[in-house]
Symmetry: C2
Subunit: 427 residues, 2 copies
C-alpha cells in the first residue's frame, strides 16, 4: 500500500518521541508542551455547569434542559463564539466579528481547514519562513500543497523576498494564496517579527492578495518588552486570518481553538462570509462540530474570569519567565568561554530559544546526546523546509523542572565540548 | 473565490435547517438526532474523575498528577483504546486488537481519515449504495474522491453488482478501494443487510481487495429480530474497518468515535499496522489527538458500566422502539386506504424508515408541507448519489416527542391526499 504522507517530517518527530521513551531519565529540552503544574482539571470541569447556567438563563431553559441541549449536536462553527471574540479583543487586541469566529477541535484543525479552503487548486501555494512549525508543513505534505520558503533571517528583508517570491510564482503560473507566520515568539525560533516587517509584509500581502495565517499560540506569554500589535490588528486590507488556541493558556486536552476571519477579504465582505461558510462546510465533514462540553468549559472559564485570561495565566507566565531566565543564566555560565562559536537568542516570550553550534546536530547527535549525556535538545533541522539549520538546536523551557535546567545545560555543555574536541582533532 | 466543496449536498441540509428554523412549531420528522431526554450531562462529567482514579492507580500516580497528565497532549490514536475494544467485543461482538483502535473526534473524523488514507491516488474510488449517508459523500466531494453507486435494491443482487462495478473500474484504469456500508439500520433507508448479502459482498471485497468501511452508529438499537453478525465479525480475509461512535449511545457532545482496523489487511499484518500508523499521521495533522477529557468521560462511563453499554441504553432502546411502534401504527391508520400507492418499511432498529409516495417530494414539497401542514419530513433524494428517490421520504422517529407522532402523521396524510388530488386532477 503506497502512502503519500507527511511521513518524513513525522518520522523525525516519532524518532524524537522514541528517544524520549528510550531514555526516560534524560532531561528533555525538546518538548514544547505547556507546564503541567498549572493544569487544574477539576476547576475547569466545574466551569461547565457555570456556562450551562448562563446558557439556560439566556435561552430561558431549565438547567437540565440546557445540559441536554449542550450534550446534543450543535452549530458547526461553535456556540461560544461571542465570549471568545470578547476574550481575543480584551487580551490580545484582536477585534473581530463573533460571526467570523470558527471554533475548531484544537487550533490544528482550524489551520488545516484554512489551508484546504485557500489552496483548492493544485497551483495554489503556501509561503512560510524556513524553518517553520511542523503542524503546518504536515498539512501541506499530506494534501499535496506546495510550500515555498522565505530564507531571509533579517526581518527587514522579508517583505522584499515575499514580493519576489509571489512575483516568481505568478510567472510560473502558480498563486501565492497564504503566508503562514508565527509573528510572536515563533516556533521553532523564539523570535518576534518586528513591527516594520509586519507592516511591510501586510502591504505586500494586500497587493498580491495573499492571506496571512497568523498563528499566535504564545502571545499571552511575553516576559519583557512592550506588547506588539498583532498582524490582525494592523491589517487594513482584510488579509489576516487570526488563529487562536486555548491549549497553552488552559490546557491541550480542551482541544478548543479556532480561526477568526477578517471582516472583509481584501475589501470584499461577501468573500469573507463565503470563506467562513466554506470553513464550516469543511468542518462539518471532518469533525461535525467542536465538542460542546469542551466549548462550555471554555465558556465557563471565560465567564468566571470576566472574559479575560490575563489573571489566570499570570502564575504560568511567571513560571515560564523564570525558566527562561534560568536557562539563559545557565547558558551564559556554561558557554562563557565559547561565545565566539556557540550563540543563542534571548526570547522575549514564548517557549523556545535556538542555539547555533559549531558542528552539525541531527538525529545521530540527539541519540548520542541522550545516551551519553542524558539530555535531549531538538535539532532545528527537523523544522527546516530545505535541509537548512543543520548546526542549530531548539531548546524548550516550558515544560522542564526549574531545578533541572542547570544540570541539563551542563550536560549539553559537556556534549558540545566533546564534539568540538573531535572536530578540532579532525582539523 | 472559487470553492470546490460538497456545497450541493450541504446546501440541501442547510435548506432543511432553515425550514426547521422558519417553522419552529412544525413537527419535525427530519432530524435523526438522538433523543435528548436521556442525556445526563452531570452523570457523565462525574465519570471523568472515575477514569482519572483508574488512570492514577494503573500508573502509580497521585490523583492530581493523573489529572495533569490527562489535561496534557497525548497519544495521537487515543488512551482508552483498550476499554473501547472491550466494549465493542462485549456489546457488538466485534473482537479486534486495541492497538488497531484509532480514536477520533467523533466518528466523522475516522471516516474522513479512512477515506483519505485509502483513496490517495486520483483513480482511487469509493463504492456506496444509492442513496447513502451524507457524511460520507461530503468527504468524497470535498476531497475530489469519486463515488460509484450500487443501484440494486435487492440484497441478493448487491454482490454481483459490486463485482461488476469493480471489474468495470479496473478496465477504466481505476481502483475500487473502499465500499461504504451501514449494514444495520441504514441511514437513510432503515434497512438491514441480509446475512447472505454480507457474506457474498465480503467474498467480492476479499477477491478484489476492496476495504469495507462498516459504519455502525445504530447497532445497539435493535427493537426486534435476532442480532446479526457484523461484517467485521464475519470477515476472514482482513478487509473490514469497523467505524464506531458514542454519539448515539451516550451523546453527540462527547465527540468520541473511531475506527477499528482489522488484524491483517488482506492477510498482511504489516499492511494493517501501516494503515493504523497512516491514520494516526493524518490525525496528528488534523486534530492532534482526541480530547483526553472526552476520552476520560467515555473511559469512566465504561468502567462504571463494567465495560458494557447495554444496560445504560436499555431505556433509550425502549423509547426508540415505542416511537417506532407509534409511527408504524399511525402510518397504518392514516394511510389505510392508500396501501396500494403509499408504502413504507418496518425497520427492525435504528432511527429511520422510508416511505414511497405516488408523487415527487423534493425541496418545494418540504417547504409547502412545513408551511401548510406544519410537519417536516426529509426528502430521500437529498441522500441520492444520482438524483434517484424523487418520490420517497425519510421519516426519523428518534428525536420526536411520542405525543406528537400521531398528529405529525395525520398532517403528513393531509399533505399527501392534497398532492394526490392535484395529481389526479391533472391526469
Amino acid at each position: 500500500m503506497s502512502m503519500k504522507t507527511g511521513t518524513s517530517r513525522l518520522a523525525v518527530m516519532n524518532f524524537l518521541n522514541e528517544v524520549s521513551g528510550d531514555f526516560p531519565d534524560a532531561i528533555s529540552l525538546a518538548s514544547g508542551r505547556p507546564a503541567e503544574a498549572f493544569f487544574d482539571l477539576q476547576r475547569w470541569l466545574d466551569a461547565i455547569p457555570l456556562y450551562q447556567r448562563e446558557f439556560a438563563s439566556r435561552r430561558g431553559l431549565s438547567h437540565a434542559d440546557a445540559g441536554r441541549l449542550l450534550a446534543q449536536y450543535g452549530r458547526t462553527n461553535g456556540i461560544v463564539n461571542e465570549v471568545i471574540a470578547g476574550q481575543l479583543a480584551q487580551d490580545e487586541g484582536v477585534r473581530g466579528r463573533s460571526e467570523h469566529v470558527v471554533i475548531s477541535a484544537g487550533c490544528q484543525e482550524a489551520l488545516a481547514l484554512c489551508m484546504l479552503s485557500l489552496c483548492e487548486d493544485s497551483n495554489d501555494v503556501v509561503i512560510a519562513r524556513d524553518p517553520t512549525y511542523i503542524g503546518m508543513t504536515g498539512v501541506a505534505d499530506l494534501h499535496g500543497i506546495e510550500i515555498v520558503p522565505l530564507h531571509s533571517k533579517e526581518d527587514d528583508k522579508l517583505a522584499a523576498e515575499l514580493a519576489e517570491v509571489a512575483e516568481k510564482l505568478r510567472r510560473e503560473g502558480k498563486r501565492a494564496r497564504a503566508l503562514y507566520l508565527i509573528p510572536e515568539f515563533d516556533n521553532p525560533t523564539g523570535t518576534v517579527l518586528s513591527l516594520d516587517a509586519r507592516m511591510a509584509m501586510l502591504d505586500v500581502c494586500a497587493e498580491q492578495r495573499i492571506v496571512v495565517l497568523e498563528d499566535n499560540p504564545y502571545g499571552m506569554f511575553r516576559y519583557e518588552g512592550e506588547r506588539m500589535q498583532t498582524m490582525y490588528a494592523l491589517d487594513r486590507a482584510g488579509c489576516v486570518i487570526y488563529l487562536f488556541t486555548y491549549s497553552k493558556t488552559l490546557c491541550p486536552a480542551v482541544r478548543v481553538g479556532g480561526a477568526l476571519v477578517p471582516d472583509t477579504l481584501f475589501g470584499d465582505a461577501a468573500a469573507a462570509r463565503a470563506l467562513v461558510a466554506n470553513l464550516g462546510e469543511r468542518k462539518s465533514f471532518l469533525t461535525v462540530n467542536t465538542s460542546q462540553l469542551n466549548q462550555a468549559l471554555i465558556g465557563g472559564m471565560l465567564l468566571a474570569q470576566d472574559g479575560s485570561l490575563r489573571e489566570l495565566v499570570a502564575p504560568q507566565l511567571a513560571h515560564y519567565r523564570r525558566n527562561r531566565d534560568l536557562l539563559l543564566a545557565a547558558l551564559e555560565k556554561e558557554f562563557a568561554d565559547q561565545r565566539d562559536v556557540v550563540r543563542w537568542n534571548r526570547p522575549e516570550g514564548g517557549f523556545f530559544l535556538t542555539m547555533d553550534l559549531p558542528f552539525a546536530f541531527g538525529q545521530a547527535e540527539v541519540l548520542r546526546c541522550a545516551r551519553e549525556q542524558h539530555v535531549i535538545p531538538m535539532p532545528l533541522s527537523f523544522f527546516s523546509l530545505t535541509g537548512t539549520c543543520q548546526d542549530s538546536i531548539r531548546l524548550a523551557f516550558s515544560n522542564v523542572e526549574p531545578s533541572l535546567i542547570n544540570e541539563g545545560v551542563a550536560r549539553l555543555g559537556r556534549f558540545v565540548r566533546e564534539c568540538q574536541e573531535v572536530c578540532d582533532a579532525a582539523v
